[in-house]
């Protein structure tokens, strides 16, 4: 009788563990997929040609941005990307998401409070090791317009 009880309990606990593992795995997979696929935007260039592409994936907090460009910045300069909160009546705040590396790749990963407030990704040309935290507004290279859900809220 006791052996019967023990086996029932064991099966029950085993099932609970199995369901837990399955749920965790599917949630993890969904999260990975969401972050991996995201949405891709063309970065249109202010100089009359395309600057590159950007993929932005977010679950509402965890946000990954991957951008690429075939261009190399001028000597002593870097390409810097900014998320812009430029919606009507919004803050207009530019959040730097880093600079493109020597291969023309930018990788950014952060746990943002509200990534969906951003409307665009702007690219500026900045001096290498620039100490000025603001974007160099006169040297704007390109812009990716989100303006589609879930961004620009």
């Amino acid at each position: 009788m006791d052996a019967m009880k023990v086996s029932i309990y064991s099966v029950f606990i085993g099932l609970v563990i199995l369901i837990g593992v399955f749920t965790a795995f599917s949630a993890f997979q969904r999260n990975v997929n969401a972050l991996k696929t995201g949405q891709t935007y063309v970065i249109a260039g202010w100089g009359g040609q395309y600057f590159g592409l950007v993929n932005i994936a977010s679950d509402g907090n965890q946000t990954t941005i991957i951008a690429s460009t075939p261009y190399k910045p001028p000597q002593g300069k870097v390409f810097e990307a900014w998320l812009v909160d430029g919606n009507y009546g919004a803050s207009g705040y530019p959040l730097s998401v880093g600079q493109f590396d020597a291969k023309g790749i930018l990788t950014y990963k952060a746990n943002i409070v509200n990534p969906f407030t951003y409307t665009d990704l702007g690219i500026t040309v900045e001096p290498k090791n620039d100490l000025d935290p603001k974007p160099a507004t006169s040297d704007q290279a390109g812009i990716a317009v989100f303006s589609s859900p879930p961004y620009g809220k």
Partner: protein, 165 residues
């Protein structure tokens, strides 16, 4: 004896009085030069520096005007202008699909002449000129790559996506 002493004294005074004058005149002249130097030179320096400041302040507004023309165009302003243009162009965003990466068909279609994004890109160039944004940076960089290949763009991004940490 006393009379003799006085007479000698007067003689001495007469003898050296013109020597005294010779000493007094240059010393007064030197004193005057020093006084003039102390009083006027700082004034001249002040006037000169004021003049320099005024001339530089005449130049400054021109420099500032040029800077302001550029600095006034913040990312928020240019992004809003770009979004308005996107809406007018009939596209709400620059979103594309890069799949399948091998030929990036949608991306190629949208970037091809006459495609939605191609029109937007063309108009954005004009908008950039209107806003005074220094878009020439990409024109200069065009020497690196004569034309951007959509498939290569898609492949480059896809490779970067594989390296997500």
């Amino acid at each position: 004896m006393k009379m003799n002493y006085n007479k000698e004294n007067i003689k001495m005074q007469k003898k050296y009085s013109h020597h005294m004058l010779l000493l007094l005149v240059p010393s007064i002249a030197i004193a005057l030069i020093i006084v003039v130097g102390i009083v006027f030179v700082p004034n001249v320096v002040v006037i000169q520096s004021a003049a320099a400041q005024s001339s530089s302040s005449q130049q400054l507004p021109q420099q500032q005007q040029q800077q302001n023309q550029n600095n006034n165009i913040s990312l928020a302003t240019s992004s809003e202008a770009a979004r308005n243009l996107a809406q007018k162009s009939g596209i709400n965003s620059t979103e594309v699909s890069t799949k399948p990466v091998q030929n990036a068909s949608e991306l190629t279609q949208k970037l091809a002449p006459g495609g939605g994004l191609a029109n937007f890109q063309g108009q954005l160039n004009g908008l950039g000129q209107q806003l005074g944004i220094n878009g020439t940076i990409l024109s200069q960089l065009k020497q690196q790559i004569s034309s951007v290949n959509p498939t290569q763009l898609a492949q480059q991004l896809d490779q970067a996506l594989d390296y997500i940490p």
